[in-house]
Symmetry: C2
Subunit: 271 residues, 2 copies
Amino acid sequence: MSLASIGVAMAQKPNSQVLDQTISIDRASYEPAYAQLAGILRQSMATGILRPGNQLPSEAQLCERYDVSPMTVRRAINLLVDQGFVVAEQGRGTFVKPVAMGAATFQLRDLQTLFNDSEHTTVHVLEARIVDADERVARKLEISSGERTIYIRRLLRTDGLPVLYHREYLIYDPLRPIVEAELEVTALQRLFNGTGETILKHGDINLEATILTDEEAKILQAPQPMAAFCFEHLFYDFDDKPISWGWFIGRADCLKFSTQVGLLMDRKERS
Amino acid sequence: MSLASIGVAMAQKPNSQVLDQTISIDRASYEPAYAQLAGILRQSMATGILRPGNQLPSEAQLCERYDVSPMTVRRAINLLVDQGFVVAEQGRGTFVKPVAMGAATFQLRDLQTLFNDSEHTTVHVLEARIVDADERVARKLEISSGERTIYIRRLLRTDGLPVLYHREYLIYDPLRPIVEAELEVTALQRLFNGTGETILKHGDINLEATILTDEEAKILQAPQPMAAFCFEHLFYDFDDKPISWGWFIGRADCLKFSTQVGLLMDRKERS
DNA sequence: CTTGAGAACTTCCCTATATAAGTGTATAAT
DNA sequence: ATTATACACTTATATAGGGAAGTTCTCAAG
């Protein structure tokens, strides 16, 4: 404990090595100055010149060293703060964050590629009919038990192989008759990448791990027993009324989520 | 198609309702002007005054309406861009993004709470010994087959109930003898929330769904068959050499990941 | 009537500078 | 010895203005 704190105290002193580097800002480059500076600082962290717990050179020091205005330094540091690499404390300094496994985030975007290349992906509607809501569905969609809902079952295939099984209950709206075309690819595509007109305001999504039921295994052509990912989703419109509740189910051996923590050097600059 | 594009075209005209509101920036407030402005714009989106596809008022308009400088408006909009609510296109305008399910991110942070309240959480080391690396381990840790590694098996309990089973292979470093205390709670705590001194630079994490093996089910006191989440992790030091490879396995009925897409009104302002 | 080039305009983007506010330390008074 | 104060140093916020990129309109040539 005491040893560790001494180590940190030593490391907290501003490291001037970053300033002694010969590289500087290329004013002719298309890459803005603040982005270049952020890159230099990230490079310093990646190479170990700046380590977790270390204090970055002060804004004034960076201004003088790289001959840019304080506002430019400010943006560069804000960028790193937003990206979660450093923390800035007013009156104290800016420090490099340690990597934490808890900071890992898994993006559903990985699945999105599946929907986008319509070359290999096809959507087949297995079933689409109007059903009366049972108590479970009614509670989720905040309607009365027995009211009409649209029940849809879809199967997504890539190169003919089934990958995702989708079941969904939709609010039945007499003013908005179901267009047959809506049931095909487009609806799911729009749901995922948000293209086109949308009436969704927000949604809740749960990720669970399950074992395929007999029906699911049969539809997904999977041997049993087979582990699976299940994405439960509940979407709301602009009046905060639920309009859709359903699940995506996919075989675990076809789906995998990867992520990285710490420093990625090919980060897109934006702020 | 043509109908939809007409609808979008109409909606794309700058919506002046945002400007006609009576509310304005409170200069006496502790909340900075840019954050207030960002809040006002988000509120407009949440209430439906600004809808997906709509164009925000131009920066100049916002300047005049709320009597702030261009740079302040700039920061507010940058904030919304970073948070993924709007997209800015140079020369065209800034537009409200539609909600996309693909934008959903699941945070491992939810697990972190488990490690933090040491009141109810205990870590028990089931096994810790030095083993020779087999080919699979050697390839992952980028060492020669047969080299020494530290193999650790841990069990995490909350309120006495087993929730996570952890297996890990560590590079054996003669210079860094294994302290018994390191094997207990602290090591995992630091791994997750990044407190204290760390030698980790970055790591890759995979999330998979599996079915518990006999051994795992027995240790986690789970009935069979039981679905489970599996987090495979591979960590690197500052020389980009692997130092640790392992898995966390947890019962699916004890773990669930939730997230939201679209507008959350209690967002922390920062930039 | 159609088409293409160019100017004018609107839009977001970037930098420079000044001022405020918080933190820690050294110093002086009690 | 303890407390209060002044100062140096940090990040945070705001203002002003110039520049770059895209869109739209105009107008002349084919």
